[in-house]
Amino acid sequence: MSPMKETPLLFGPGRNLVGLWCEPEGGTPPAVCLLLVNAGVVHRIGLHRINVKIARHMAGQGVPSLRLDLAGLGDSRIVGQAAGFREQAVGDIQAAMDHVERTYDIHRFAIFGICSGAFNGYAAALADPRIVGLSMMDGHAFPSWKTPLMRHLQRLQVVSVGEVLAALRRRLAAPFQAGPKPPVADAVDTGGNEDNDPVVAATAAQFGQALQTLVERGVAVHIVNTGSRIDDYSYAGQFMDVFGHHAFAAKVVSEYVPEMDHSVTLLSGQRALIERLDRWMARLRPAARGAAA
């Protein structure tokens, strides 16, 4: 791997946001910066340190990155009047881009996020034209009529009759075994009330319209769905089955990766994710460099 350098940063209007700038040492000036945001309440290193692993890999490919804590998460503090979580998150991502533009003279950005990070990336990409690449893992998912069928088929391929019965027993017994939840102190609201959050609650039509807008703007969109969400997303062609009749669909890279899980728990899954991001970023880099020239 090529040499890289990491620099801790404090930035944002109140110098309240904490991030790690990871850059390749030497080589050609980068065309695009990758932003890596929180997944749930996990701080900027990401689930199982995946953001650190992605950042260092990308630096080896000549791509700098900023992994950051959004205000209220990790080590970043909320300053001033608290905005709604999504508004705050988009503002923080824009503050990160402002800082990178001023400090490193890079003006185009890609953003990657898992789960709530995917929703925040999606909202930021819609709000800010500096974002030219959006990669979302386990964000929105819209089942087709085939989804339940494919789910059952996959499960049947690997599950014995005994395991089916055991799972059924566990499921039936669960309501009688669950104890009361202990109180959560200092819990962080990571996504607001999801029922009222237009980003999370987007319908397939609204999501499709948003993707249309992004693709028309030239944003490279990458969607990854893992084996953890088989109830909502269960086969490789699902995205095209749901959105294939739209013009934008062919331009979106959508991958179903059942060997990965939502938390990228296995190292093999972490490698699979990095390989996919690398391939996607490789498509993005020449376009971004050309556009920036």
């Binding site: 990491e6 340190r49 690997v158 102190a185 953890s228 728990t265």
Partner: protein, 270 residues
């Protein structure tokens, strides 16, 4: 709060330096992370604890071990000897940057164990050594992590990848170079297996407090042995529902308030 990097050029460590607020004392506290997923789980709690210590006039340094968090090094670069050196580097860094005259170390799980091993090398000794559920039996600890790893895979996968499906089916307790999302090298695994209470003896601390669950006989026995060996030591009970390795903090407190309260009280006691 200032994010910093420190340590040798080939072993750069990430830290968060939090100077005391208000009437600062000359006392600093170094917080020692546990291993892997446990460190992710404890991050928020350490931030809340650090803020509380700051308000009580103590300086705090939180940091990531080499091969963990935002520090340099891959997961598999971690090792016990290196981590002992990291802790001593963090100690020197806090002392030098904020002119601390006396230092306390607070460690959780494996972080506490590293602190026990490293404190003997501190010239002049520590003011306090606070150990929350230190790992005193590496073999049992590792087996517990393997069980949690299997549990996480069962929870996270709808359709388990083939090698793990078979390992879980047969109850294979092998580590296979990874645990709960983090790489684990063979030498480090062997170092963990070798951890045993009789080989762990803190020295040179004016006070050592072991915090553990009520009735934890192993912790009681270790504390008694340390006390008998000349290291002032006592045990404080802390029962909690905090799950050290939970993937997404389901059903357990993100910040176990009782733990923050007790550790802060112990660190700030006159």
């Amino acid at each position: 709060m200032t994010p910093i990097q420190f340590g040798p050029a080939d072993r750069r460590l990430f830290g968060l330096l939090q100077p005391a607020q208000g009437n600062a004392t000359r006392t600093g506290v170094v917080l020692c992370n546990p291993l892997g997923q446990e460190a992710v789980r404890v991050h928020r709690m350490y931030r809340v604890l650090a803020d509380r210590l700051n308000r009580a006039g103590l300086h705090v340094l939180r940091f990531d071990w080499f091969g963990s968090g935002d520090s340099a090094g891959d997961d598999t670069a971690a090792d016990m000897e290196g981590w002992r050196a990291d802790l001593l580097a963090a100690h020197r860094e806090l002392k030098a940057r904020l002119m601390c005259e006396q230092l306390t170390w607070i460690g959780a799980r494996l972080g506490a164990t590293v602190a026990v091993q490293a404190c003997t090398a501190v010239a002049g000794g520590l003011q306090r050594l606070l150990l929350w559920e230190p790992v005193l039996d590496g073999q049992a600890y590792l087996q517990g992590l393997v069980r949690d790893h299997h549990e996480a895979l069962r929870d996270n996968y709808s359709v388990m990848p083939p090698p793990w499906r078979e390992r879980l089916r047969t109850g294979d307790m092998g580590v296979y170079g990874e645990l709960l999302g983090f790489g684990l090298s063979e030498p480090f695994r062997n170092q963990l297996i070798a951890l045993a209470a009789p080989t762990l003896t803190p020295t040179g601390c004016r006070q050592c407090v072991v915090v553990g669950r009520t009735g934890d006989a192993a912790l009681q026995a270790a504390a008694q042995r340390w006390q008998a060996g000349g290291q002032p030591c006592r045990v404080e009970s802390l029962d909690h529902a905090f799950d050290w390795t939970s993937e997404e903090a389901l059903n357990t407190a993100l910040v176990p308030a009782a733990a923050v309260q007790l550790l802060a009280d112990l660190a700030t006691a006159p």
